[in-house]
Symmetry: C2
Subunit: 232 residues, 2 copies
């Protein structure tokens, strides 16, 4: 189950080369059916030892837990270590080494690592699910703070001043007809209304929906037989 | 299974308030035994509708997939949206809303959202495992680029120049005794040796391990009966 979850996270984030060291046969057979990770799993290589699996990598980064704190290896938080790993990956190969969920990395495995990454989990509950730990590490590697902030803006952008002006006049009339106010608004009240409408940050599309509704209210208030503008 | 994985990721990153809307009874019963997430699961509230679940939240952020691109909701990449959410959470409550893994959020659910977050997965394989998606989003919320870069430096720091000088003299003697060289090193060769030793970036602890080994080599080469310094 974990192998499938790991392969899926890799596929999600575009890391397509999974290497397994002595997987349990059963887990490995079951993983091959993991949702959406077929490409990663078809290309997965199985090795007998960690040494062989990382032989062609010029950087080997292990994953740390509290238990590793007495080791003589540098432990870097993911935020920073991820940056170093990313820079290395731009021109060279690297291995990100995870142990089994139960036992983690052995001392033998750790002796092959240049340094360790630690995901900033709470000390009270540090041990992560393997598939989730892989997903978080790979996300940090694809993370791009310079990417466009919003992928899709709401609607077609904000209403123009002209569009808001029409809405303002409709509201003004409505407030009068509904007897919410009893005379045309004084300038200060007009300003209040204007600011009120701006605070809503209406889109150009939404403001037209408002026109329809407000005109309908006006028509209803003035009575069907009046000379109002009617529903549109 | 997913509920347990979600609760575990929440516990890892310190988000302790899980709210479920109409969970499958069976999944919910099984989740209660999830590894290490007992505290989160014990406090989990179950609701009939999403409306009730988010009623006290002043910001509701949904999670987006490609299928949502035609909605009139702002879709923000996690790197940026996470920052907005984090800022909001500093003083107010917010809900991060996930749909079921199979169906995602319904249009009804989405109508309750202020905007949507998208995890920057590959377009070719966008759909994430639910537990992994939650882990990645929560990691972004606890992520702290200003945290100390390395939590633990290797050993006790680099060897001092004095410590390296001792190693240099030992190496020099060894190269002579082993007949690797046949006379005391000329200055340029000493410089080469010095640079060679610096490139290894030896720690203060490791350099003492080297002393022991090098002295032992010397002792062996000079013969047990010579007047060498002997093993330490």
């Amino acid at each position: 189950l974990n192998i499938g979850a790991v392969a899926r996270a890799m596929s999600n984030f575009g890391f397509l080369e999974l290497r397994l060291v002595q997987p349990y046969d059963k887990a490995w057979q079951e993983a091959r059916s993991a949702v959406g990770a077929a490409k990663v799993l078809a290309a997965t290589q199985v090795y007998d030892t960690v040494q062989e699996a990382v032989a062609d990598c010029s950087l080997v980064v292990g994953t740390a837990s509290l238990g590793h704190r007495d080791l003589r290896l540098t432990v870097r938080r993911l935020e920073y270590g991820g940056r170093i790993l990313k820079r290395h990956l731009a021109s060279e190969s690297a291995a990100l080494l995870f142990g089994s969920e139960k036992f983690g990395l052995s001392n033998d495995d750790l002796s092959l690592c240049h340094w360790l990454l630690r995901i900033p989990t709470r000390e009270e509950h540090e041990s992560m699910n393997l598939g989730q730990a892989v997903a978080v590490c790979l996300y940090e590697l694809v993370r791009n703070p310079k990417a466009p902030h919003a992928e899709q803006k709401r609607g077609t952008g904000l209403a123009t001043a002209g569009e808001l002006e029409i809405m303002e006049r409709l509201m003004d009339e409505l407030l009068l007809v509904s007897e919410f106010t009893h005379e045309r608004k004084a300038t200060s009240s007009r300003l209040k209304l204007r600011r009120f409408l701006r605070r809503m940050a209406l889109s150009g599309q939404d403001v037209h929906v408002w026109y329809g509704m407000l005109r309908q209210f006006l028509w209803k208030m003035k009575g069907p037989n009046s000379s109002g503008s009617g529903a549109e």
